[in-house]
């Protein structure tokens, strides 16, 4: 095992962890003040709930020994045989436990992304069950297909040399973003529009919080993408060089974020005569989403093109969402779904062997693009269908939404019994003394 690789990976895990509270703030600022705690809680609590699911059985079924290319088995439940001092089968230079905790942070944030679609109206109890079921029946299988050894969409070979489709997804364009984006589309439709949507003002209550959240996401994304190199250098090649380098993943992540912030701001300036700060923040996030699958495989100049494209495409997607009257409240579909799909396709276009060992369309290999499209389509269909089934069952049993009067009062008071902001003496509460 390598000290440099392990040190970097542990730092990466911490960076990715920070993205979940970053997401909480990004979403929280976009919501109205009466719902800010409910919104933050939906992301924050994933750090608890999904952590437990993952260490008990999620890691085992997502990354454990393969069953038919579709799912892992239960060999590693309760982290049995996941060693803190020996490498596992996924990365030779870091402890198996480190690989696990890295994957855990991804498993935590992916369901949290979906929460933006049903912001300001979700019943908390049903929501918790939804997240657990989604993590188990959607996230873990799809992660296995793309990143699991023997998984049928990815390229990680089994002992017998059998390899899957070899769709490229460096850090989670399909597993995280398209997956969550599709679930968000289904959820937004099934939860229905917020009360007063289209008639009442529903602007972000704290844009500074949105920017802080976006900044934490950008910072953490360096761990998300560059950490997916699973080492501080990369994969050694026969001639003594490296591909799939952490350095390149880091650089392209940053370039794409900046380029997308610029393009979203520019297009919003052209269309609405004022450059929106929320747009700059959302644009950066869109660029980060798009570069996620591509980060190991493309050059910095390609990352610039990918980022510029992401800012523009996601802006258009958000605008169209508004025209269709879909209350995907915090634009998960437009940013993560569309951004992730663009990123996966862009990987098939811009991949260059010098960076990631595989060429894309622009370097003479048309086949890869086809594989990307298949992976995108499969993920969308699977995530959409299973999310629909889960939500249908929950709607019939527990009910998805809060009661109308609770929605009007706000989630903070109705679901959590708390107020976020109590600046004036007159609004503070008096302790309830026992009889």
């Amino acid at each position: 095992m390598d000290t440099g690789d392990t040190a970097w990976m542990l730092v990466s895990c911490a960076l990715v962890m920070l993205m979940t509270p970053g997401l909480a703030l990004f979403y929280g600022g976009l919501a109205r003040s009466k719902n800010v705690l409910g919104t933050i809680m939906q992301s924050f609590i994933m750090l608890g709930v999904i952590t437990l699911q993952f260490i008990i059985f999620g890691f085992s079924i997502a990354f454990g020994p393969d069953q038919g290319g579709l799912i892992g088995n239960f060999d590693w439940i309760f982290l049995k045989d996941v060693s803190p001092s020996e490498p596992g089968p996924y990365a030779a230079t870091i402890p198996a436990q480190t690989y696990m905790i890295f994957q855990l942070m991804f498993a935590v944030i992916t369901p949290a992304l979906i929460t933006g679609a049903f912001a300001e109206r979700a019943k908390f109890s049903t929501f918790l069950v939804f997240m657990l079921l989604w993590a188990t029946f959607v996230y873990d299988p799809v992660a296995h297909w793309v990143w699991g050894i023997g998984g049928w969409l990815g390229g990680f070979a089994e002992a017998d040399g059998q390899v899957g489709l070899k769709a490229l997804d460096f850090a989670g364009g399909t597993v995280v973003h398209i997956n969550a984006g599709m679930a968000a589309l289904v959820a937004a439709i099934m939860y229905g529009k917020r009360h007063g949507y289209g008639r009442e003002p529903m602007e972000p209550h704290d844009v500074t919080m949105v920017v802080i959240g976006a900044a934490l996401l950008w910072f953490g994304w360096f761990g998300f993408n560059a950490g997916s190199a699973l080492g501080s250098l990369g994969l050694a090649t026969e001639d003594g060089g490296f591909i799939l380098t952490a350095s390149n993943a880091f650089v392209v992540t940053h370039v794409a974020a900046g380029a997308a912030a610029v393009s979203w701001t520019a297009i919003s300036w052209l269309i609405t005569a004022k450059p929106s700060v929320v747009g700059a923040a959302a644009g950066a996030v869109a660029g980060l989403v798009a570069i996620t699958p591509a980060a190991g495989f493309v050059s910095p100049m390609a990352a610039m093109a990918i980022g510029l494209g992401a800012g523009a495409l996601c802006y258009i997607a958000v605008r169209m969402r508004a025209k269709f009257g879909l209350d995907d409240s915090l634009d998960v579909v437009g940013v993560h779904g569309v951004g992730g799909a663009w990123g996966a396709i862009a990987t098939g276009l811009f991949a260059a062997a010098a960076y990631g060992g595989v060429d894309g369309l622009f370097f003479g290999n048309a086949e890869q693009l086809g594989k990307q499209v298949i992976a995108i389509a499969v993920t969308m269909v699977y995530s959409g269908v299973v999310t629909f089934v889960i939500l249908k069952v929950l709607d019939m049993t527990m009910g998805l939404r809060v009661k109308e009067e609770d929605e009007l009062t706000g989630l903070d008071v109705s679901q959590h019994g708390e107020r976020a902001y109590q600046f004036e003496e007159g609004y503070a509460g008096i302790p309830v003394t026992p009889e």
Binding site: S268, T272, K274, G279, V318, A322, D331
Partner: protein, 113 residues
Amino acid sequence: MNKIEAIVRPERLEVVKEALASAGFVGLNIVSVTGRGIQKGIVHAGRGGEEYRVDMLPKSKIELVVKDPDTQRAVDVIINAARTGAIGDGKIFVSPVSQAIRVRTGEQGDAAL
């Protein structure tokens, strides 16, 4: 005694306070209000280009209670300090007050002001 409620632009608040103090009117309350008059409001750009017309605008409301003979003088001071000439300068309302009491001493009427 009369209560003067003056709704003015927030950016004129400091100037109005100074002017009132110079004219001998030191005691007053301020409340932030949101309101709408004939001023048309502003347009916010949303993140996806959906624009919001916001016609409820922030203003500052100054409340002070003055003796009857001082009423017109106080109103004039406020108007001179708050006026910019553009739509949205605000409004002043004057209403009678039936009693005023100083909490510390119990004085009533004009002596409380």
